[in-house]
Subunit: 156 residues, 2 copies
DNA sequence: CTTGACATTCCAGTAGATGGAAACTATACA
DNA sequence: TGTATAGTTTCCATCTACTGGAATGTCAAG
């Protein structure tokens, strides 16, 4: 007994596809709903059935998601491919943009981490008797550099 | 003519508060809607009016948001303060958790960046004649390590 | 015949806002 | 007095990428 591996008529249900790809079946239905994947054909019971092509497309989508591409971007890529164009050029542009986004994000997180470290330091130096003073909400956050100007404190 | 700066009866409208703090007025209304700030009193026209205390609270919230605290967390902090407790201890715990989250996130981004760099490299080495081959959606993403097992390709 | 594991649809909710529409108010200017 | 402009109000919708839950249907095994 052997499954005819190359037989494209092999069909599997949503649960198996989802489990194999490590996602929630709801995610797969959701992708269909937003037309990222075509409507899956159904069996007599109304269950969705997936063939190799459907599986591959889904698999591609998830791999792209792992690379943090948005569903919109992925849709673009798939659409290009369907028009017979190789989306690779478009993808490299996306990749370049994503890399630059990531650099920005990392820098932002570094900065944020630094500020939080400062707060952590500060926490060790606040006099116990100050901690319950009622003139602020929380020394730790309050003491951070105040950027906003206060419209109620403007003179003249 | 001088504004009596210390007079806490000075009141400003939402637009001025928002502009001064550098946020959208909608954000301020939103915070009221989710009860992060108390309902602002209104003038005859039904316009919201903000006093010093309201401004300070809002300002605190935004500073905490800048530190990437969730609105839920910020609500907790404010609630503690209202109960007369100094939230500093709670805040340090939050801070510790956030720092650890950030480290995780940065590491994830670094990893992601690395993968995207690989794709970028790959893009330079794909033979022009391969680019339009129809057996894949996009070489660049396709060539990435495939993690999922394919249920349609299982033998035996 | 029932139990359990699947599947279906539909509705709602998540976080943190933001956009837009329709209506009202306030102020300045001619 | 009229009107133009700007600010405000409420309400509803939208964004991202799903996920949870309810009510119902299907299927195979024991």
């Amino acid at each position: 007994m052997r499954k005819t591996t190359d037989d494209i008529t092999d069909l599997v249900q949503i649960g198996q596809v989802a489990q194999t790809l490590g996602v929630n079946p709801k995610t797969v239905r959701y992708y269909e709903e937003i037309k990222l994947i075509p409507e899956a054909p159904r069996n007599n019971a109304g269950y969705r059935l997936y063939d190799q092509a459907a599986f591959d497309r889904l698999s591609f989508i998830l791999r792209a998601r792992n690379l943090d591409f948005s569903l919109d971007d992925i849709g673009e890529i798939l659409a290009l491919r369907e028009d017979g164009e190789a989306p690779c050029l478009y993808v490299t542009e996306l990749v370049d943009r994503r890399i630059s986004d990531i650099d920005t994000r990392i820098e932002g997180l570094r900065q944020l981490r630094h500020e939080l470290e400062d707060i952590r330091e500060e926490a060790r130096s606040i006099p116990r008797e100050d901690i319950l003073l009622n003139d602020c909400i929380c020394h730790l956050i309050e003491n951070e550099a105040l950027v906003a100007r206060d419209p109620l404190k403007e003179k003249d």
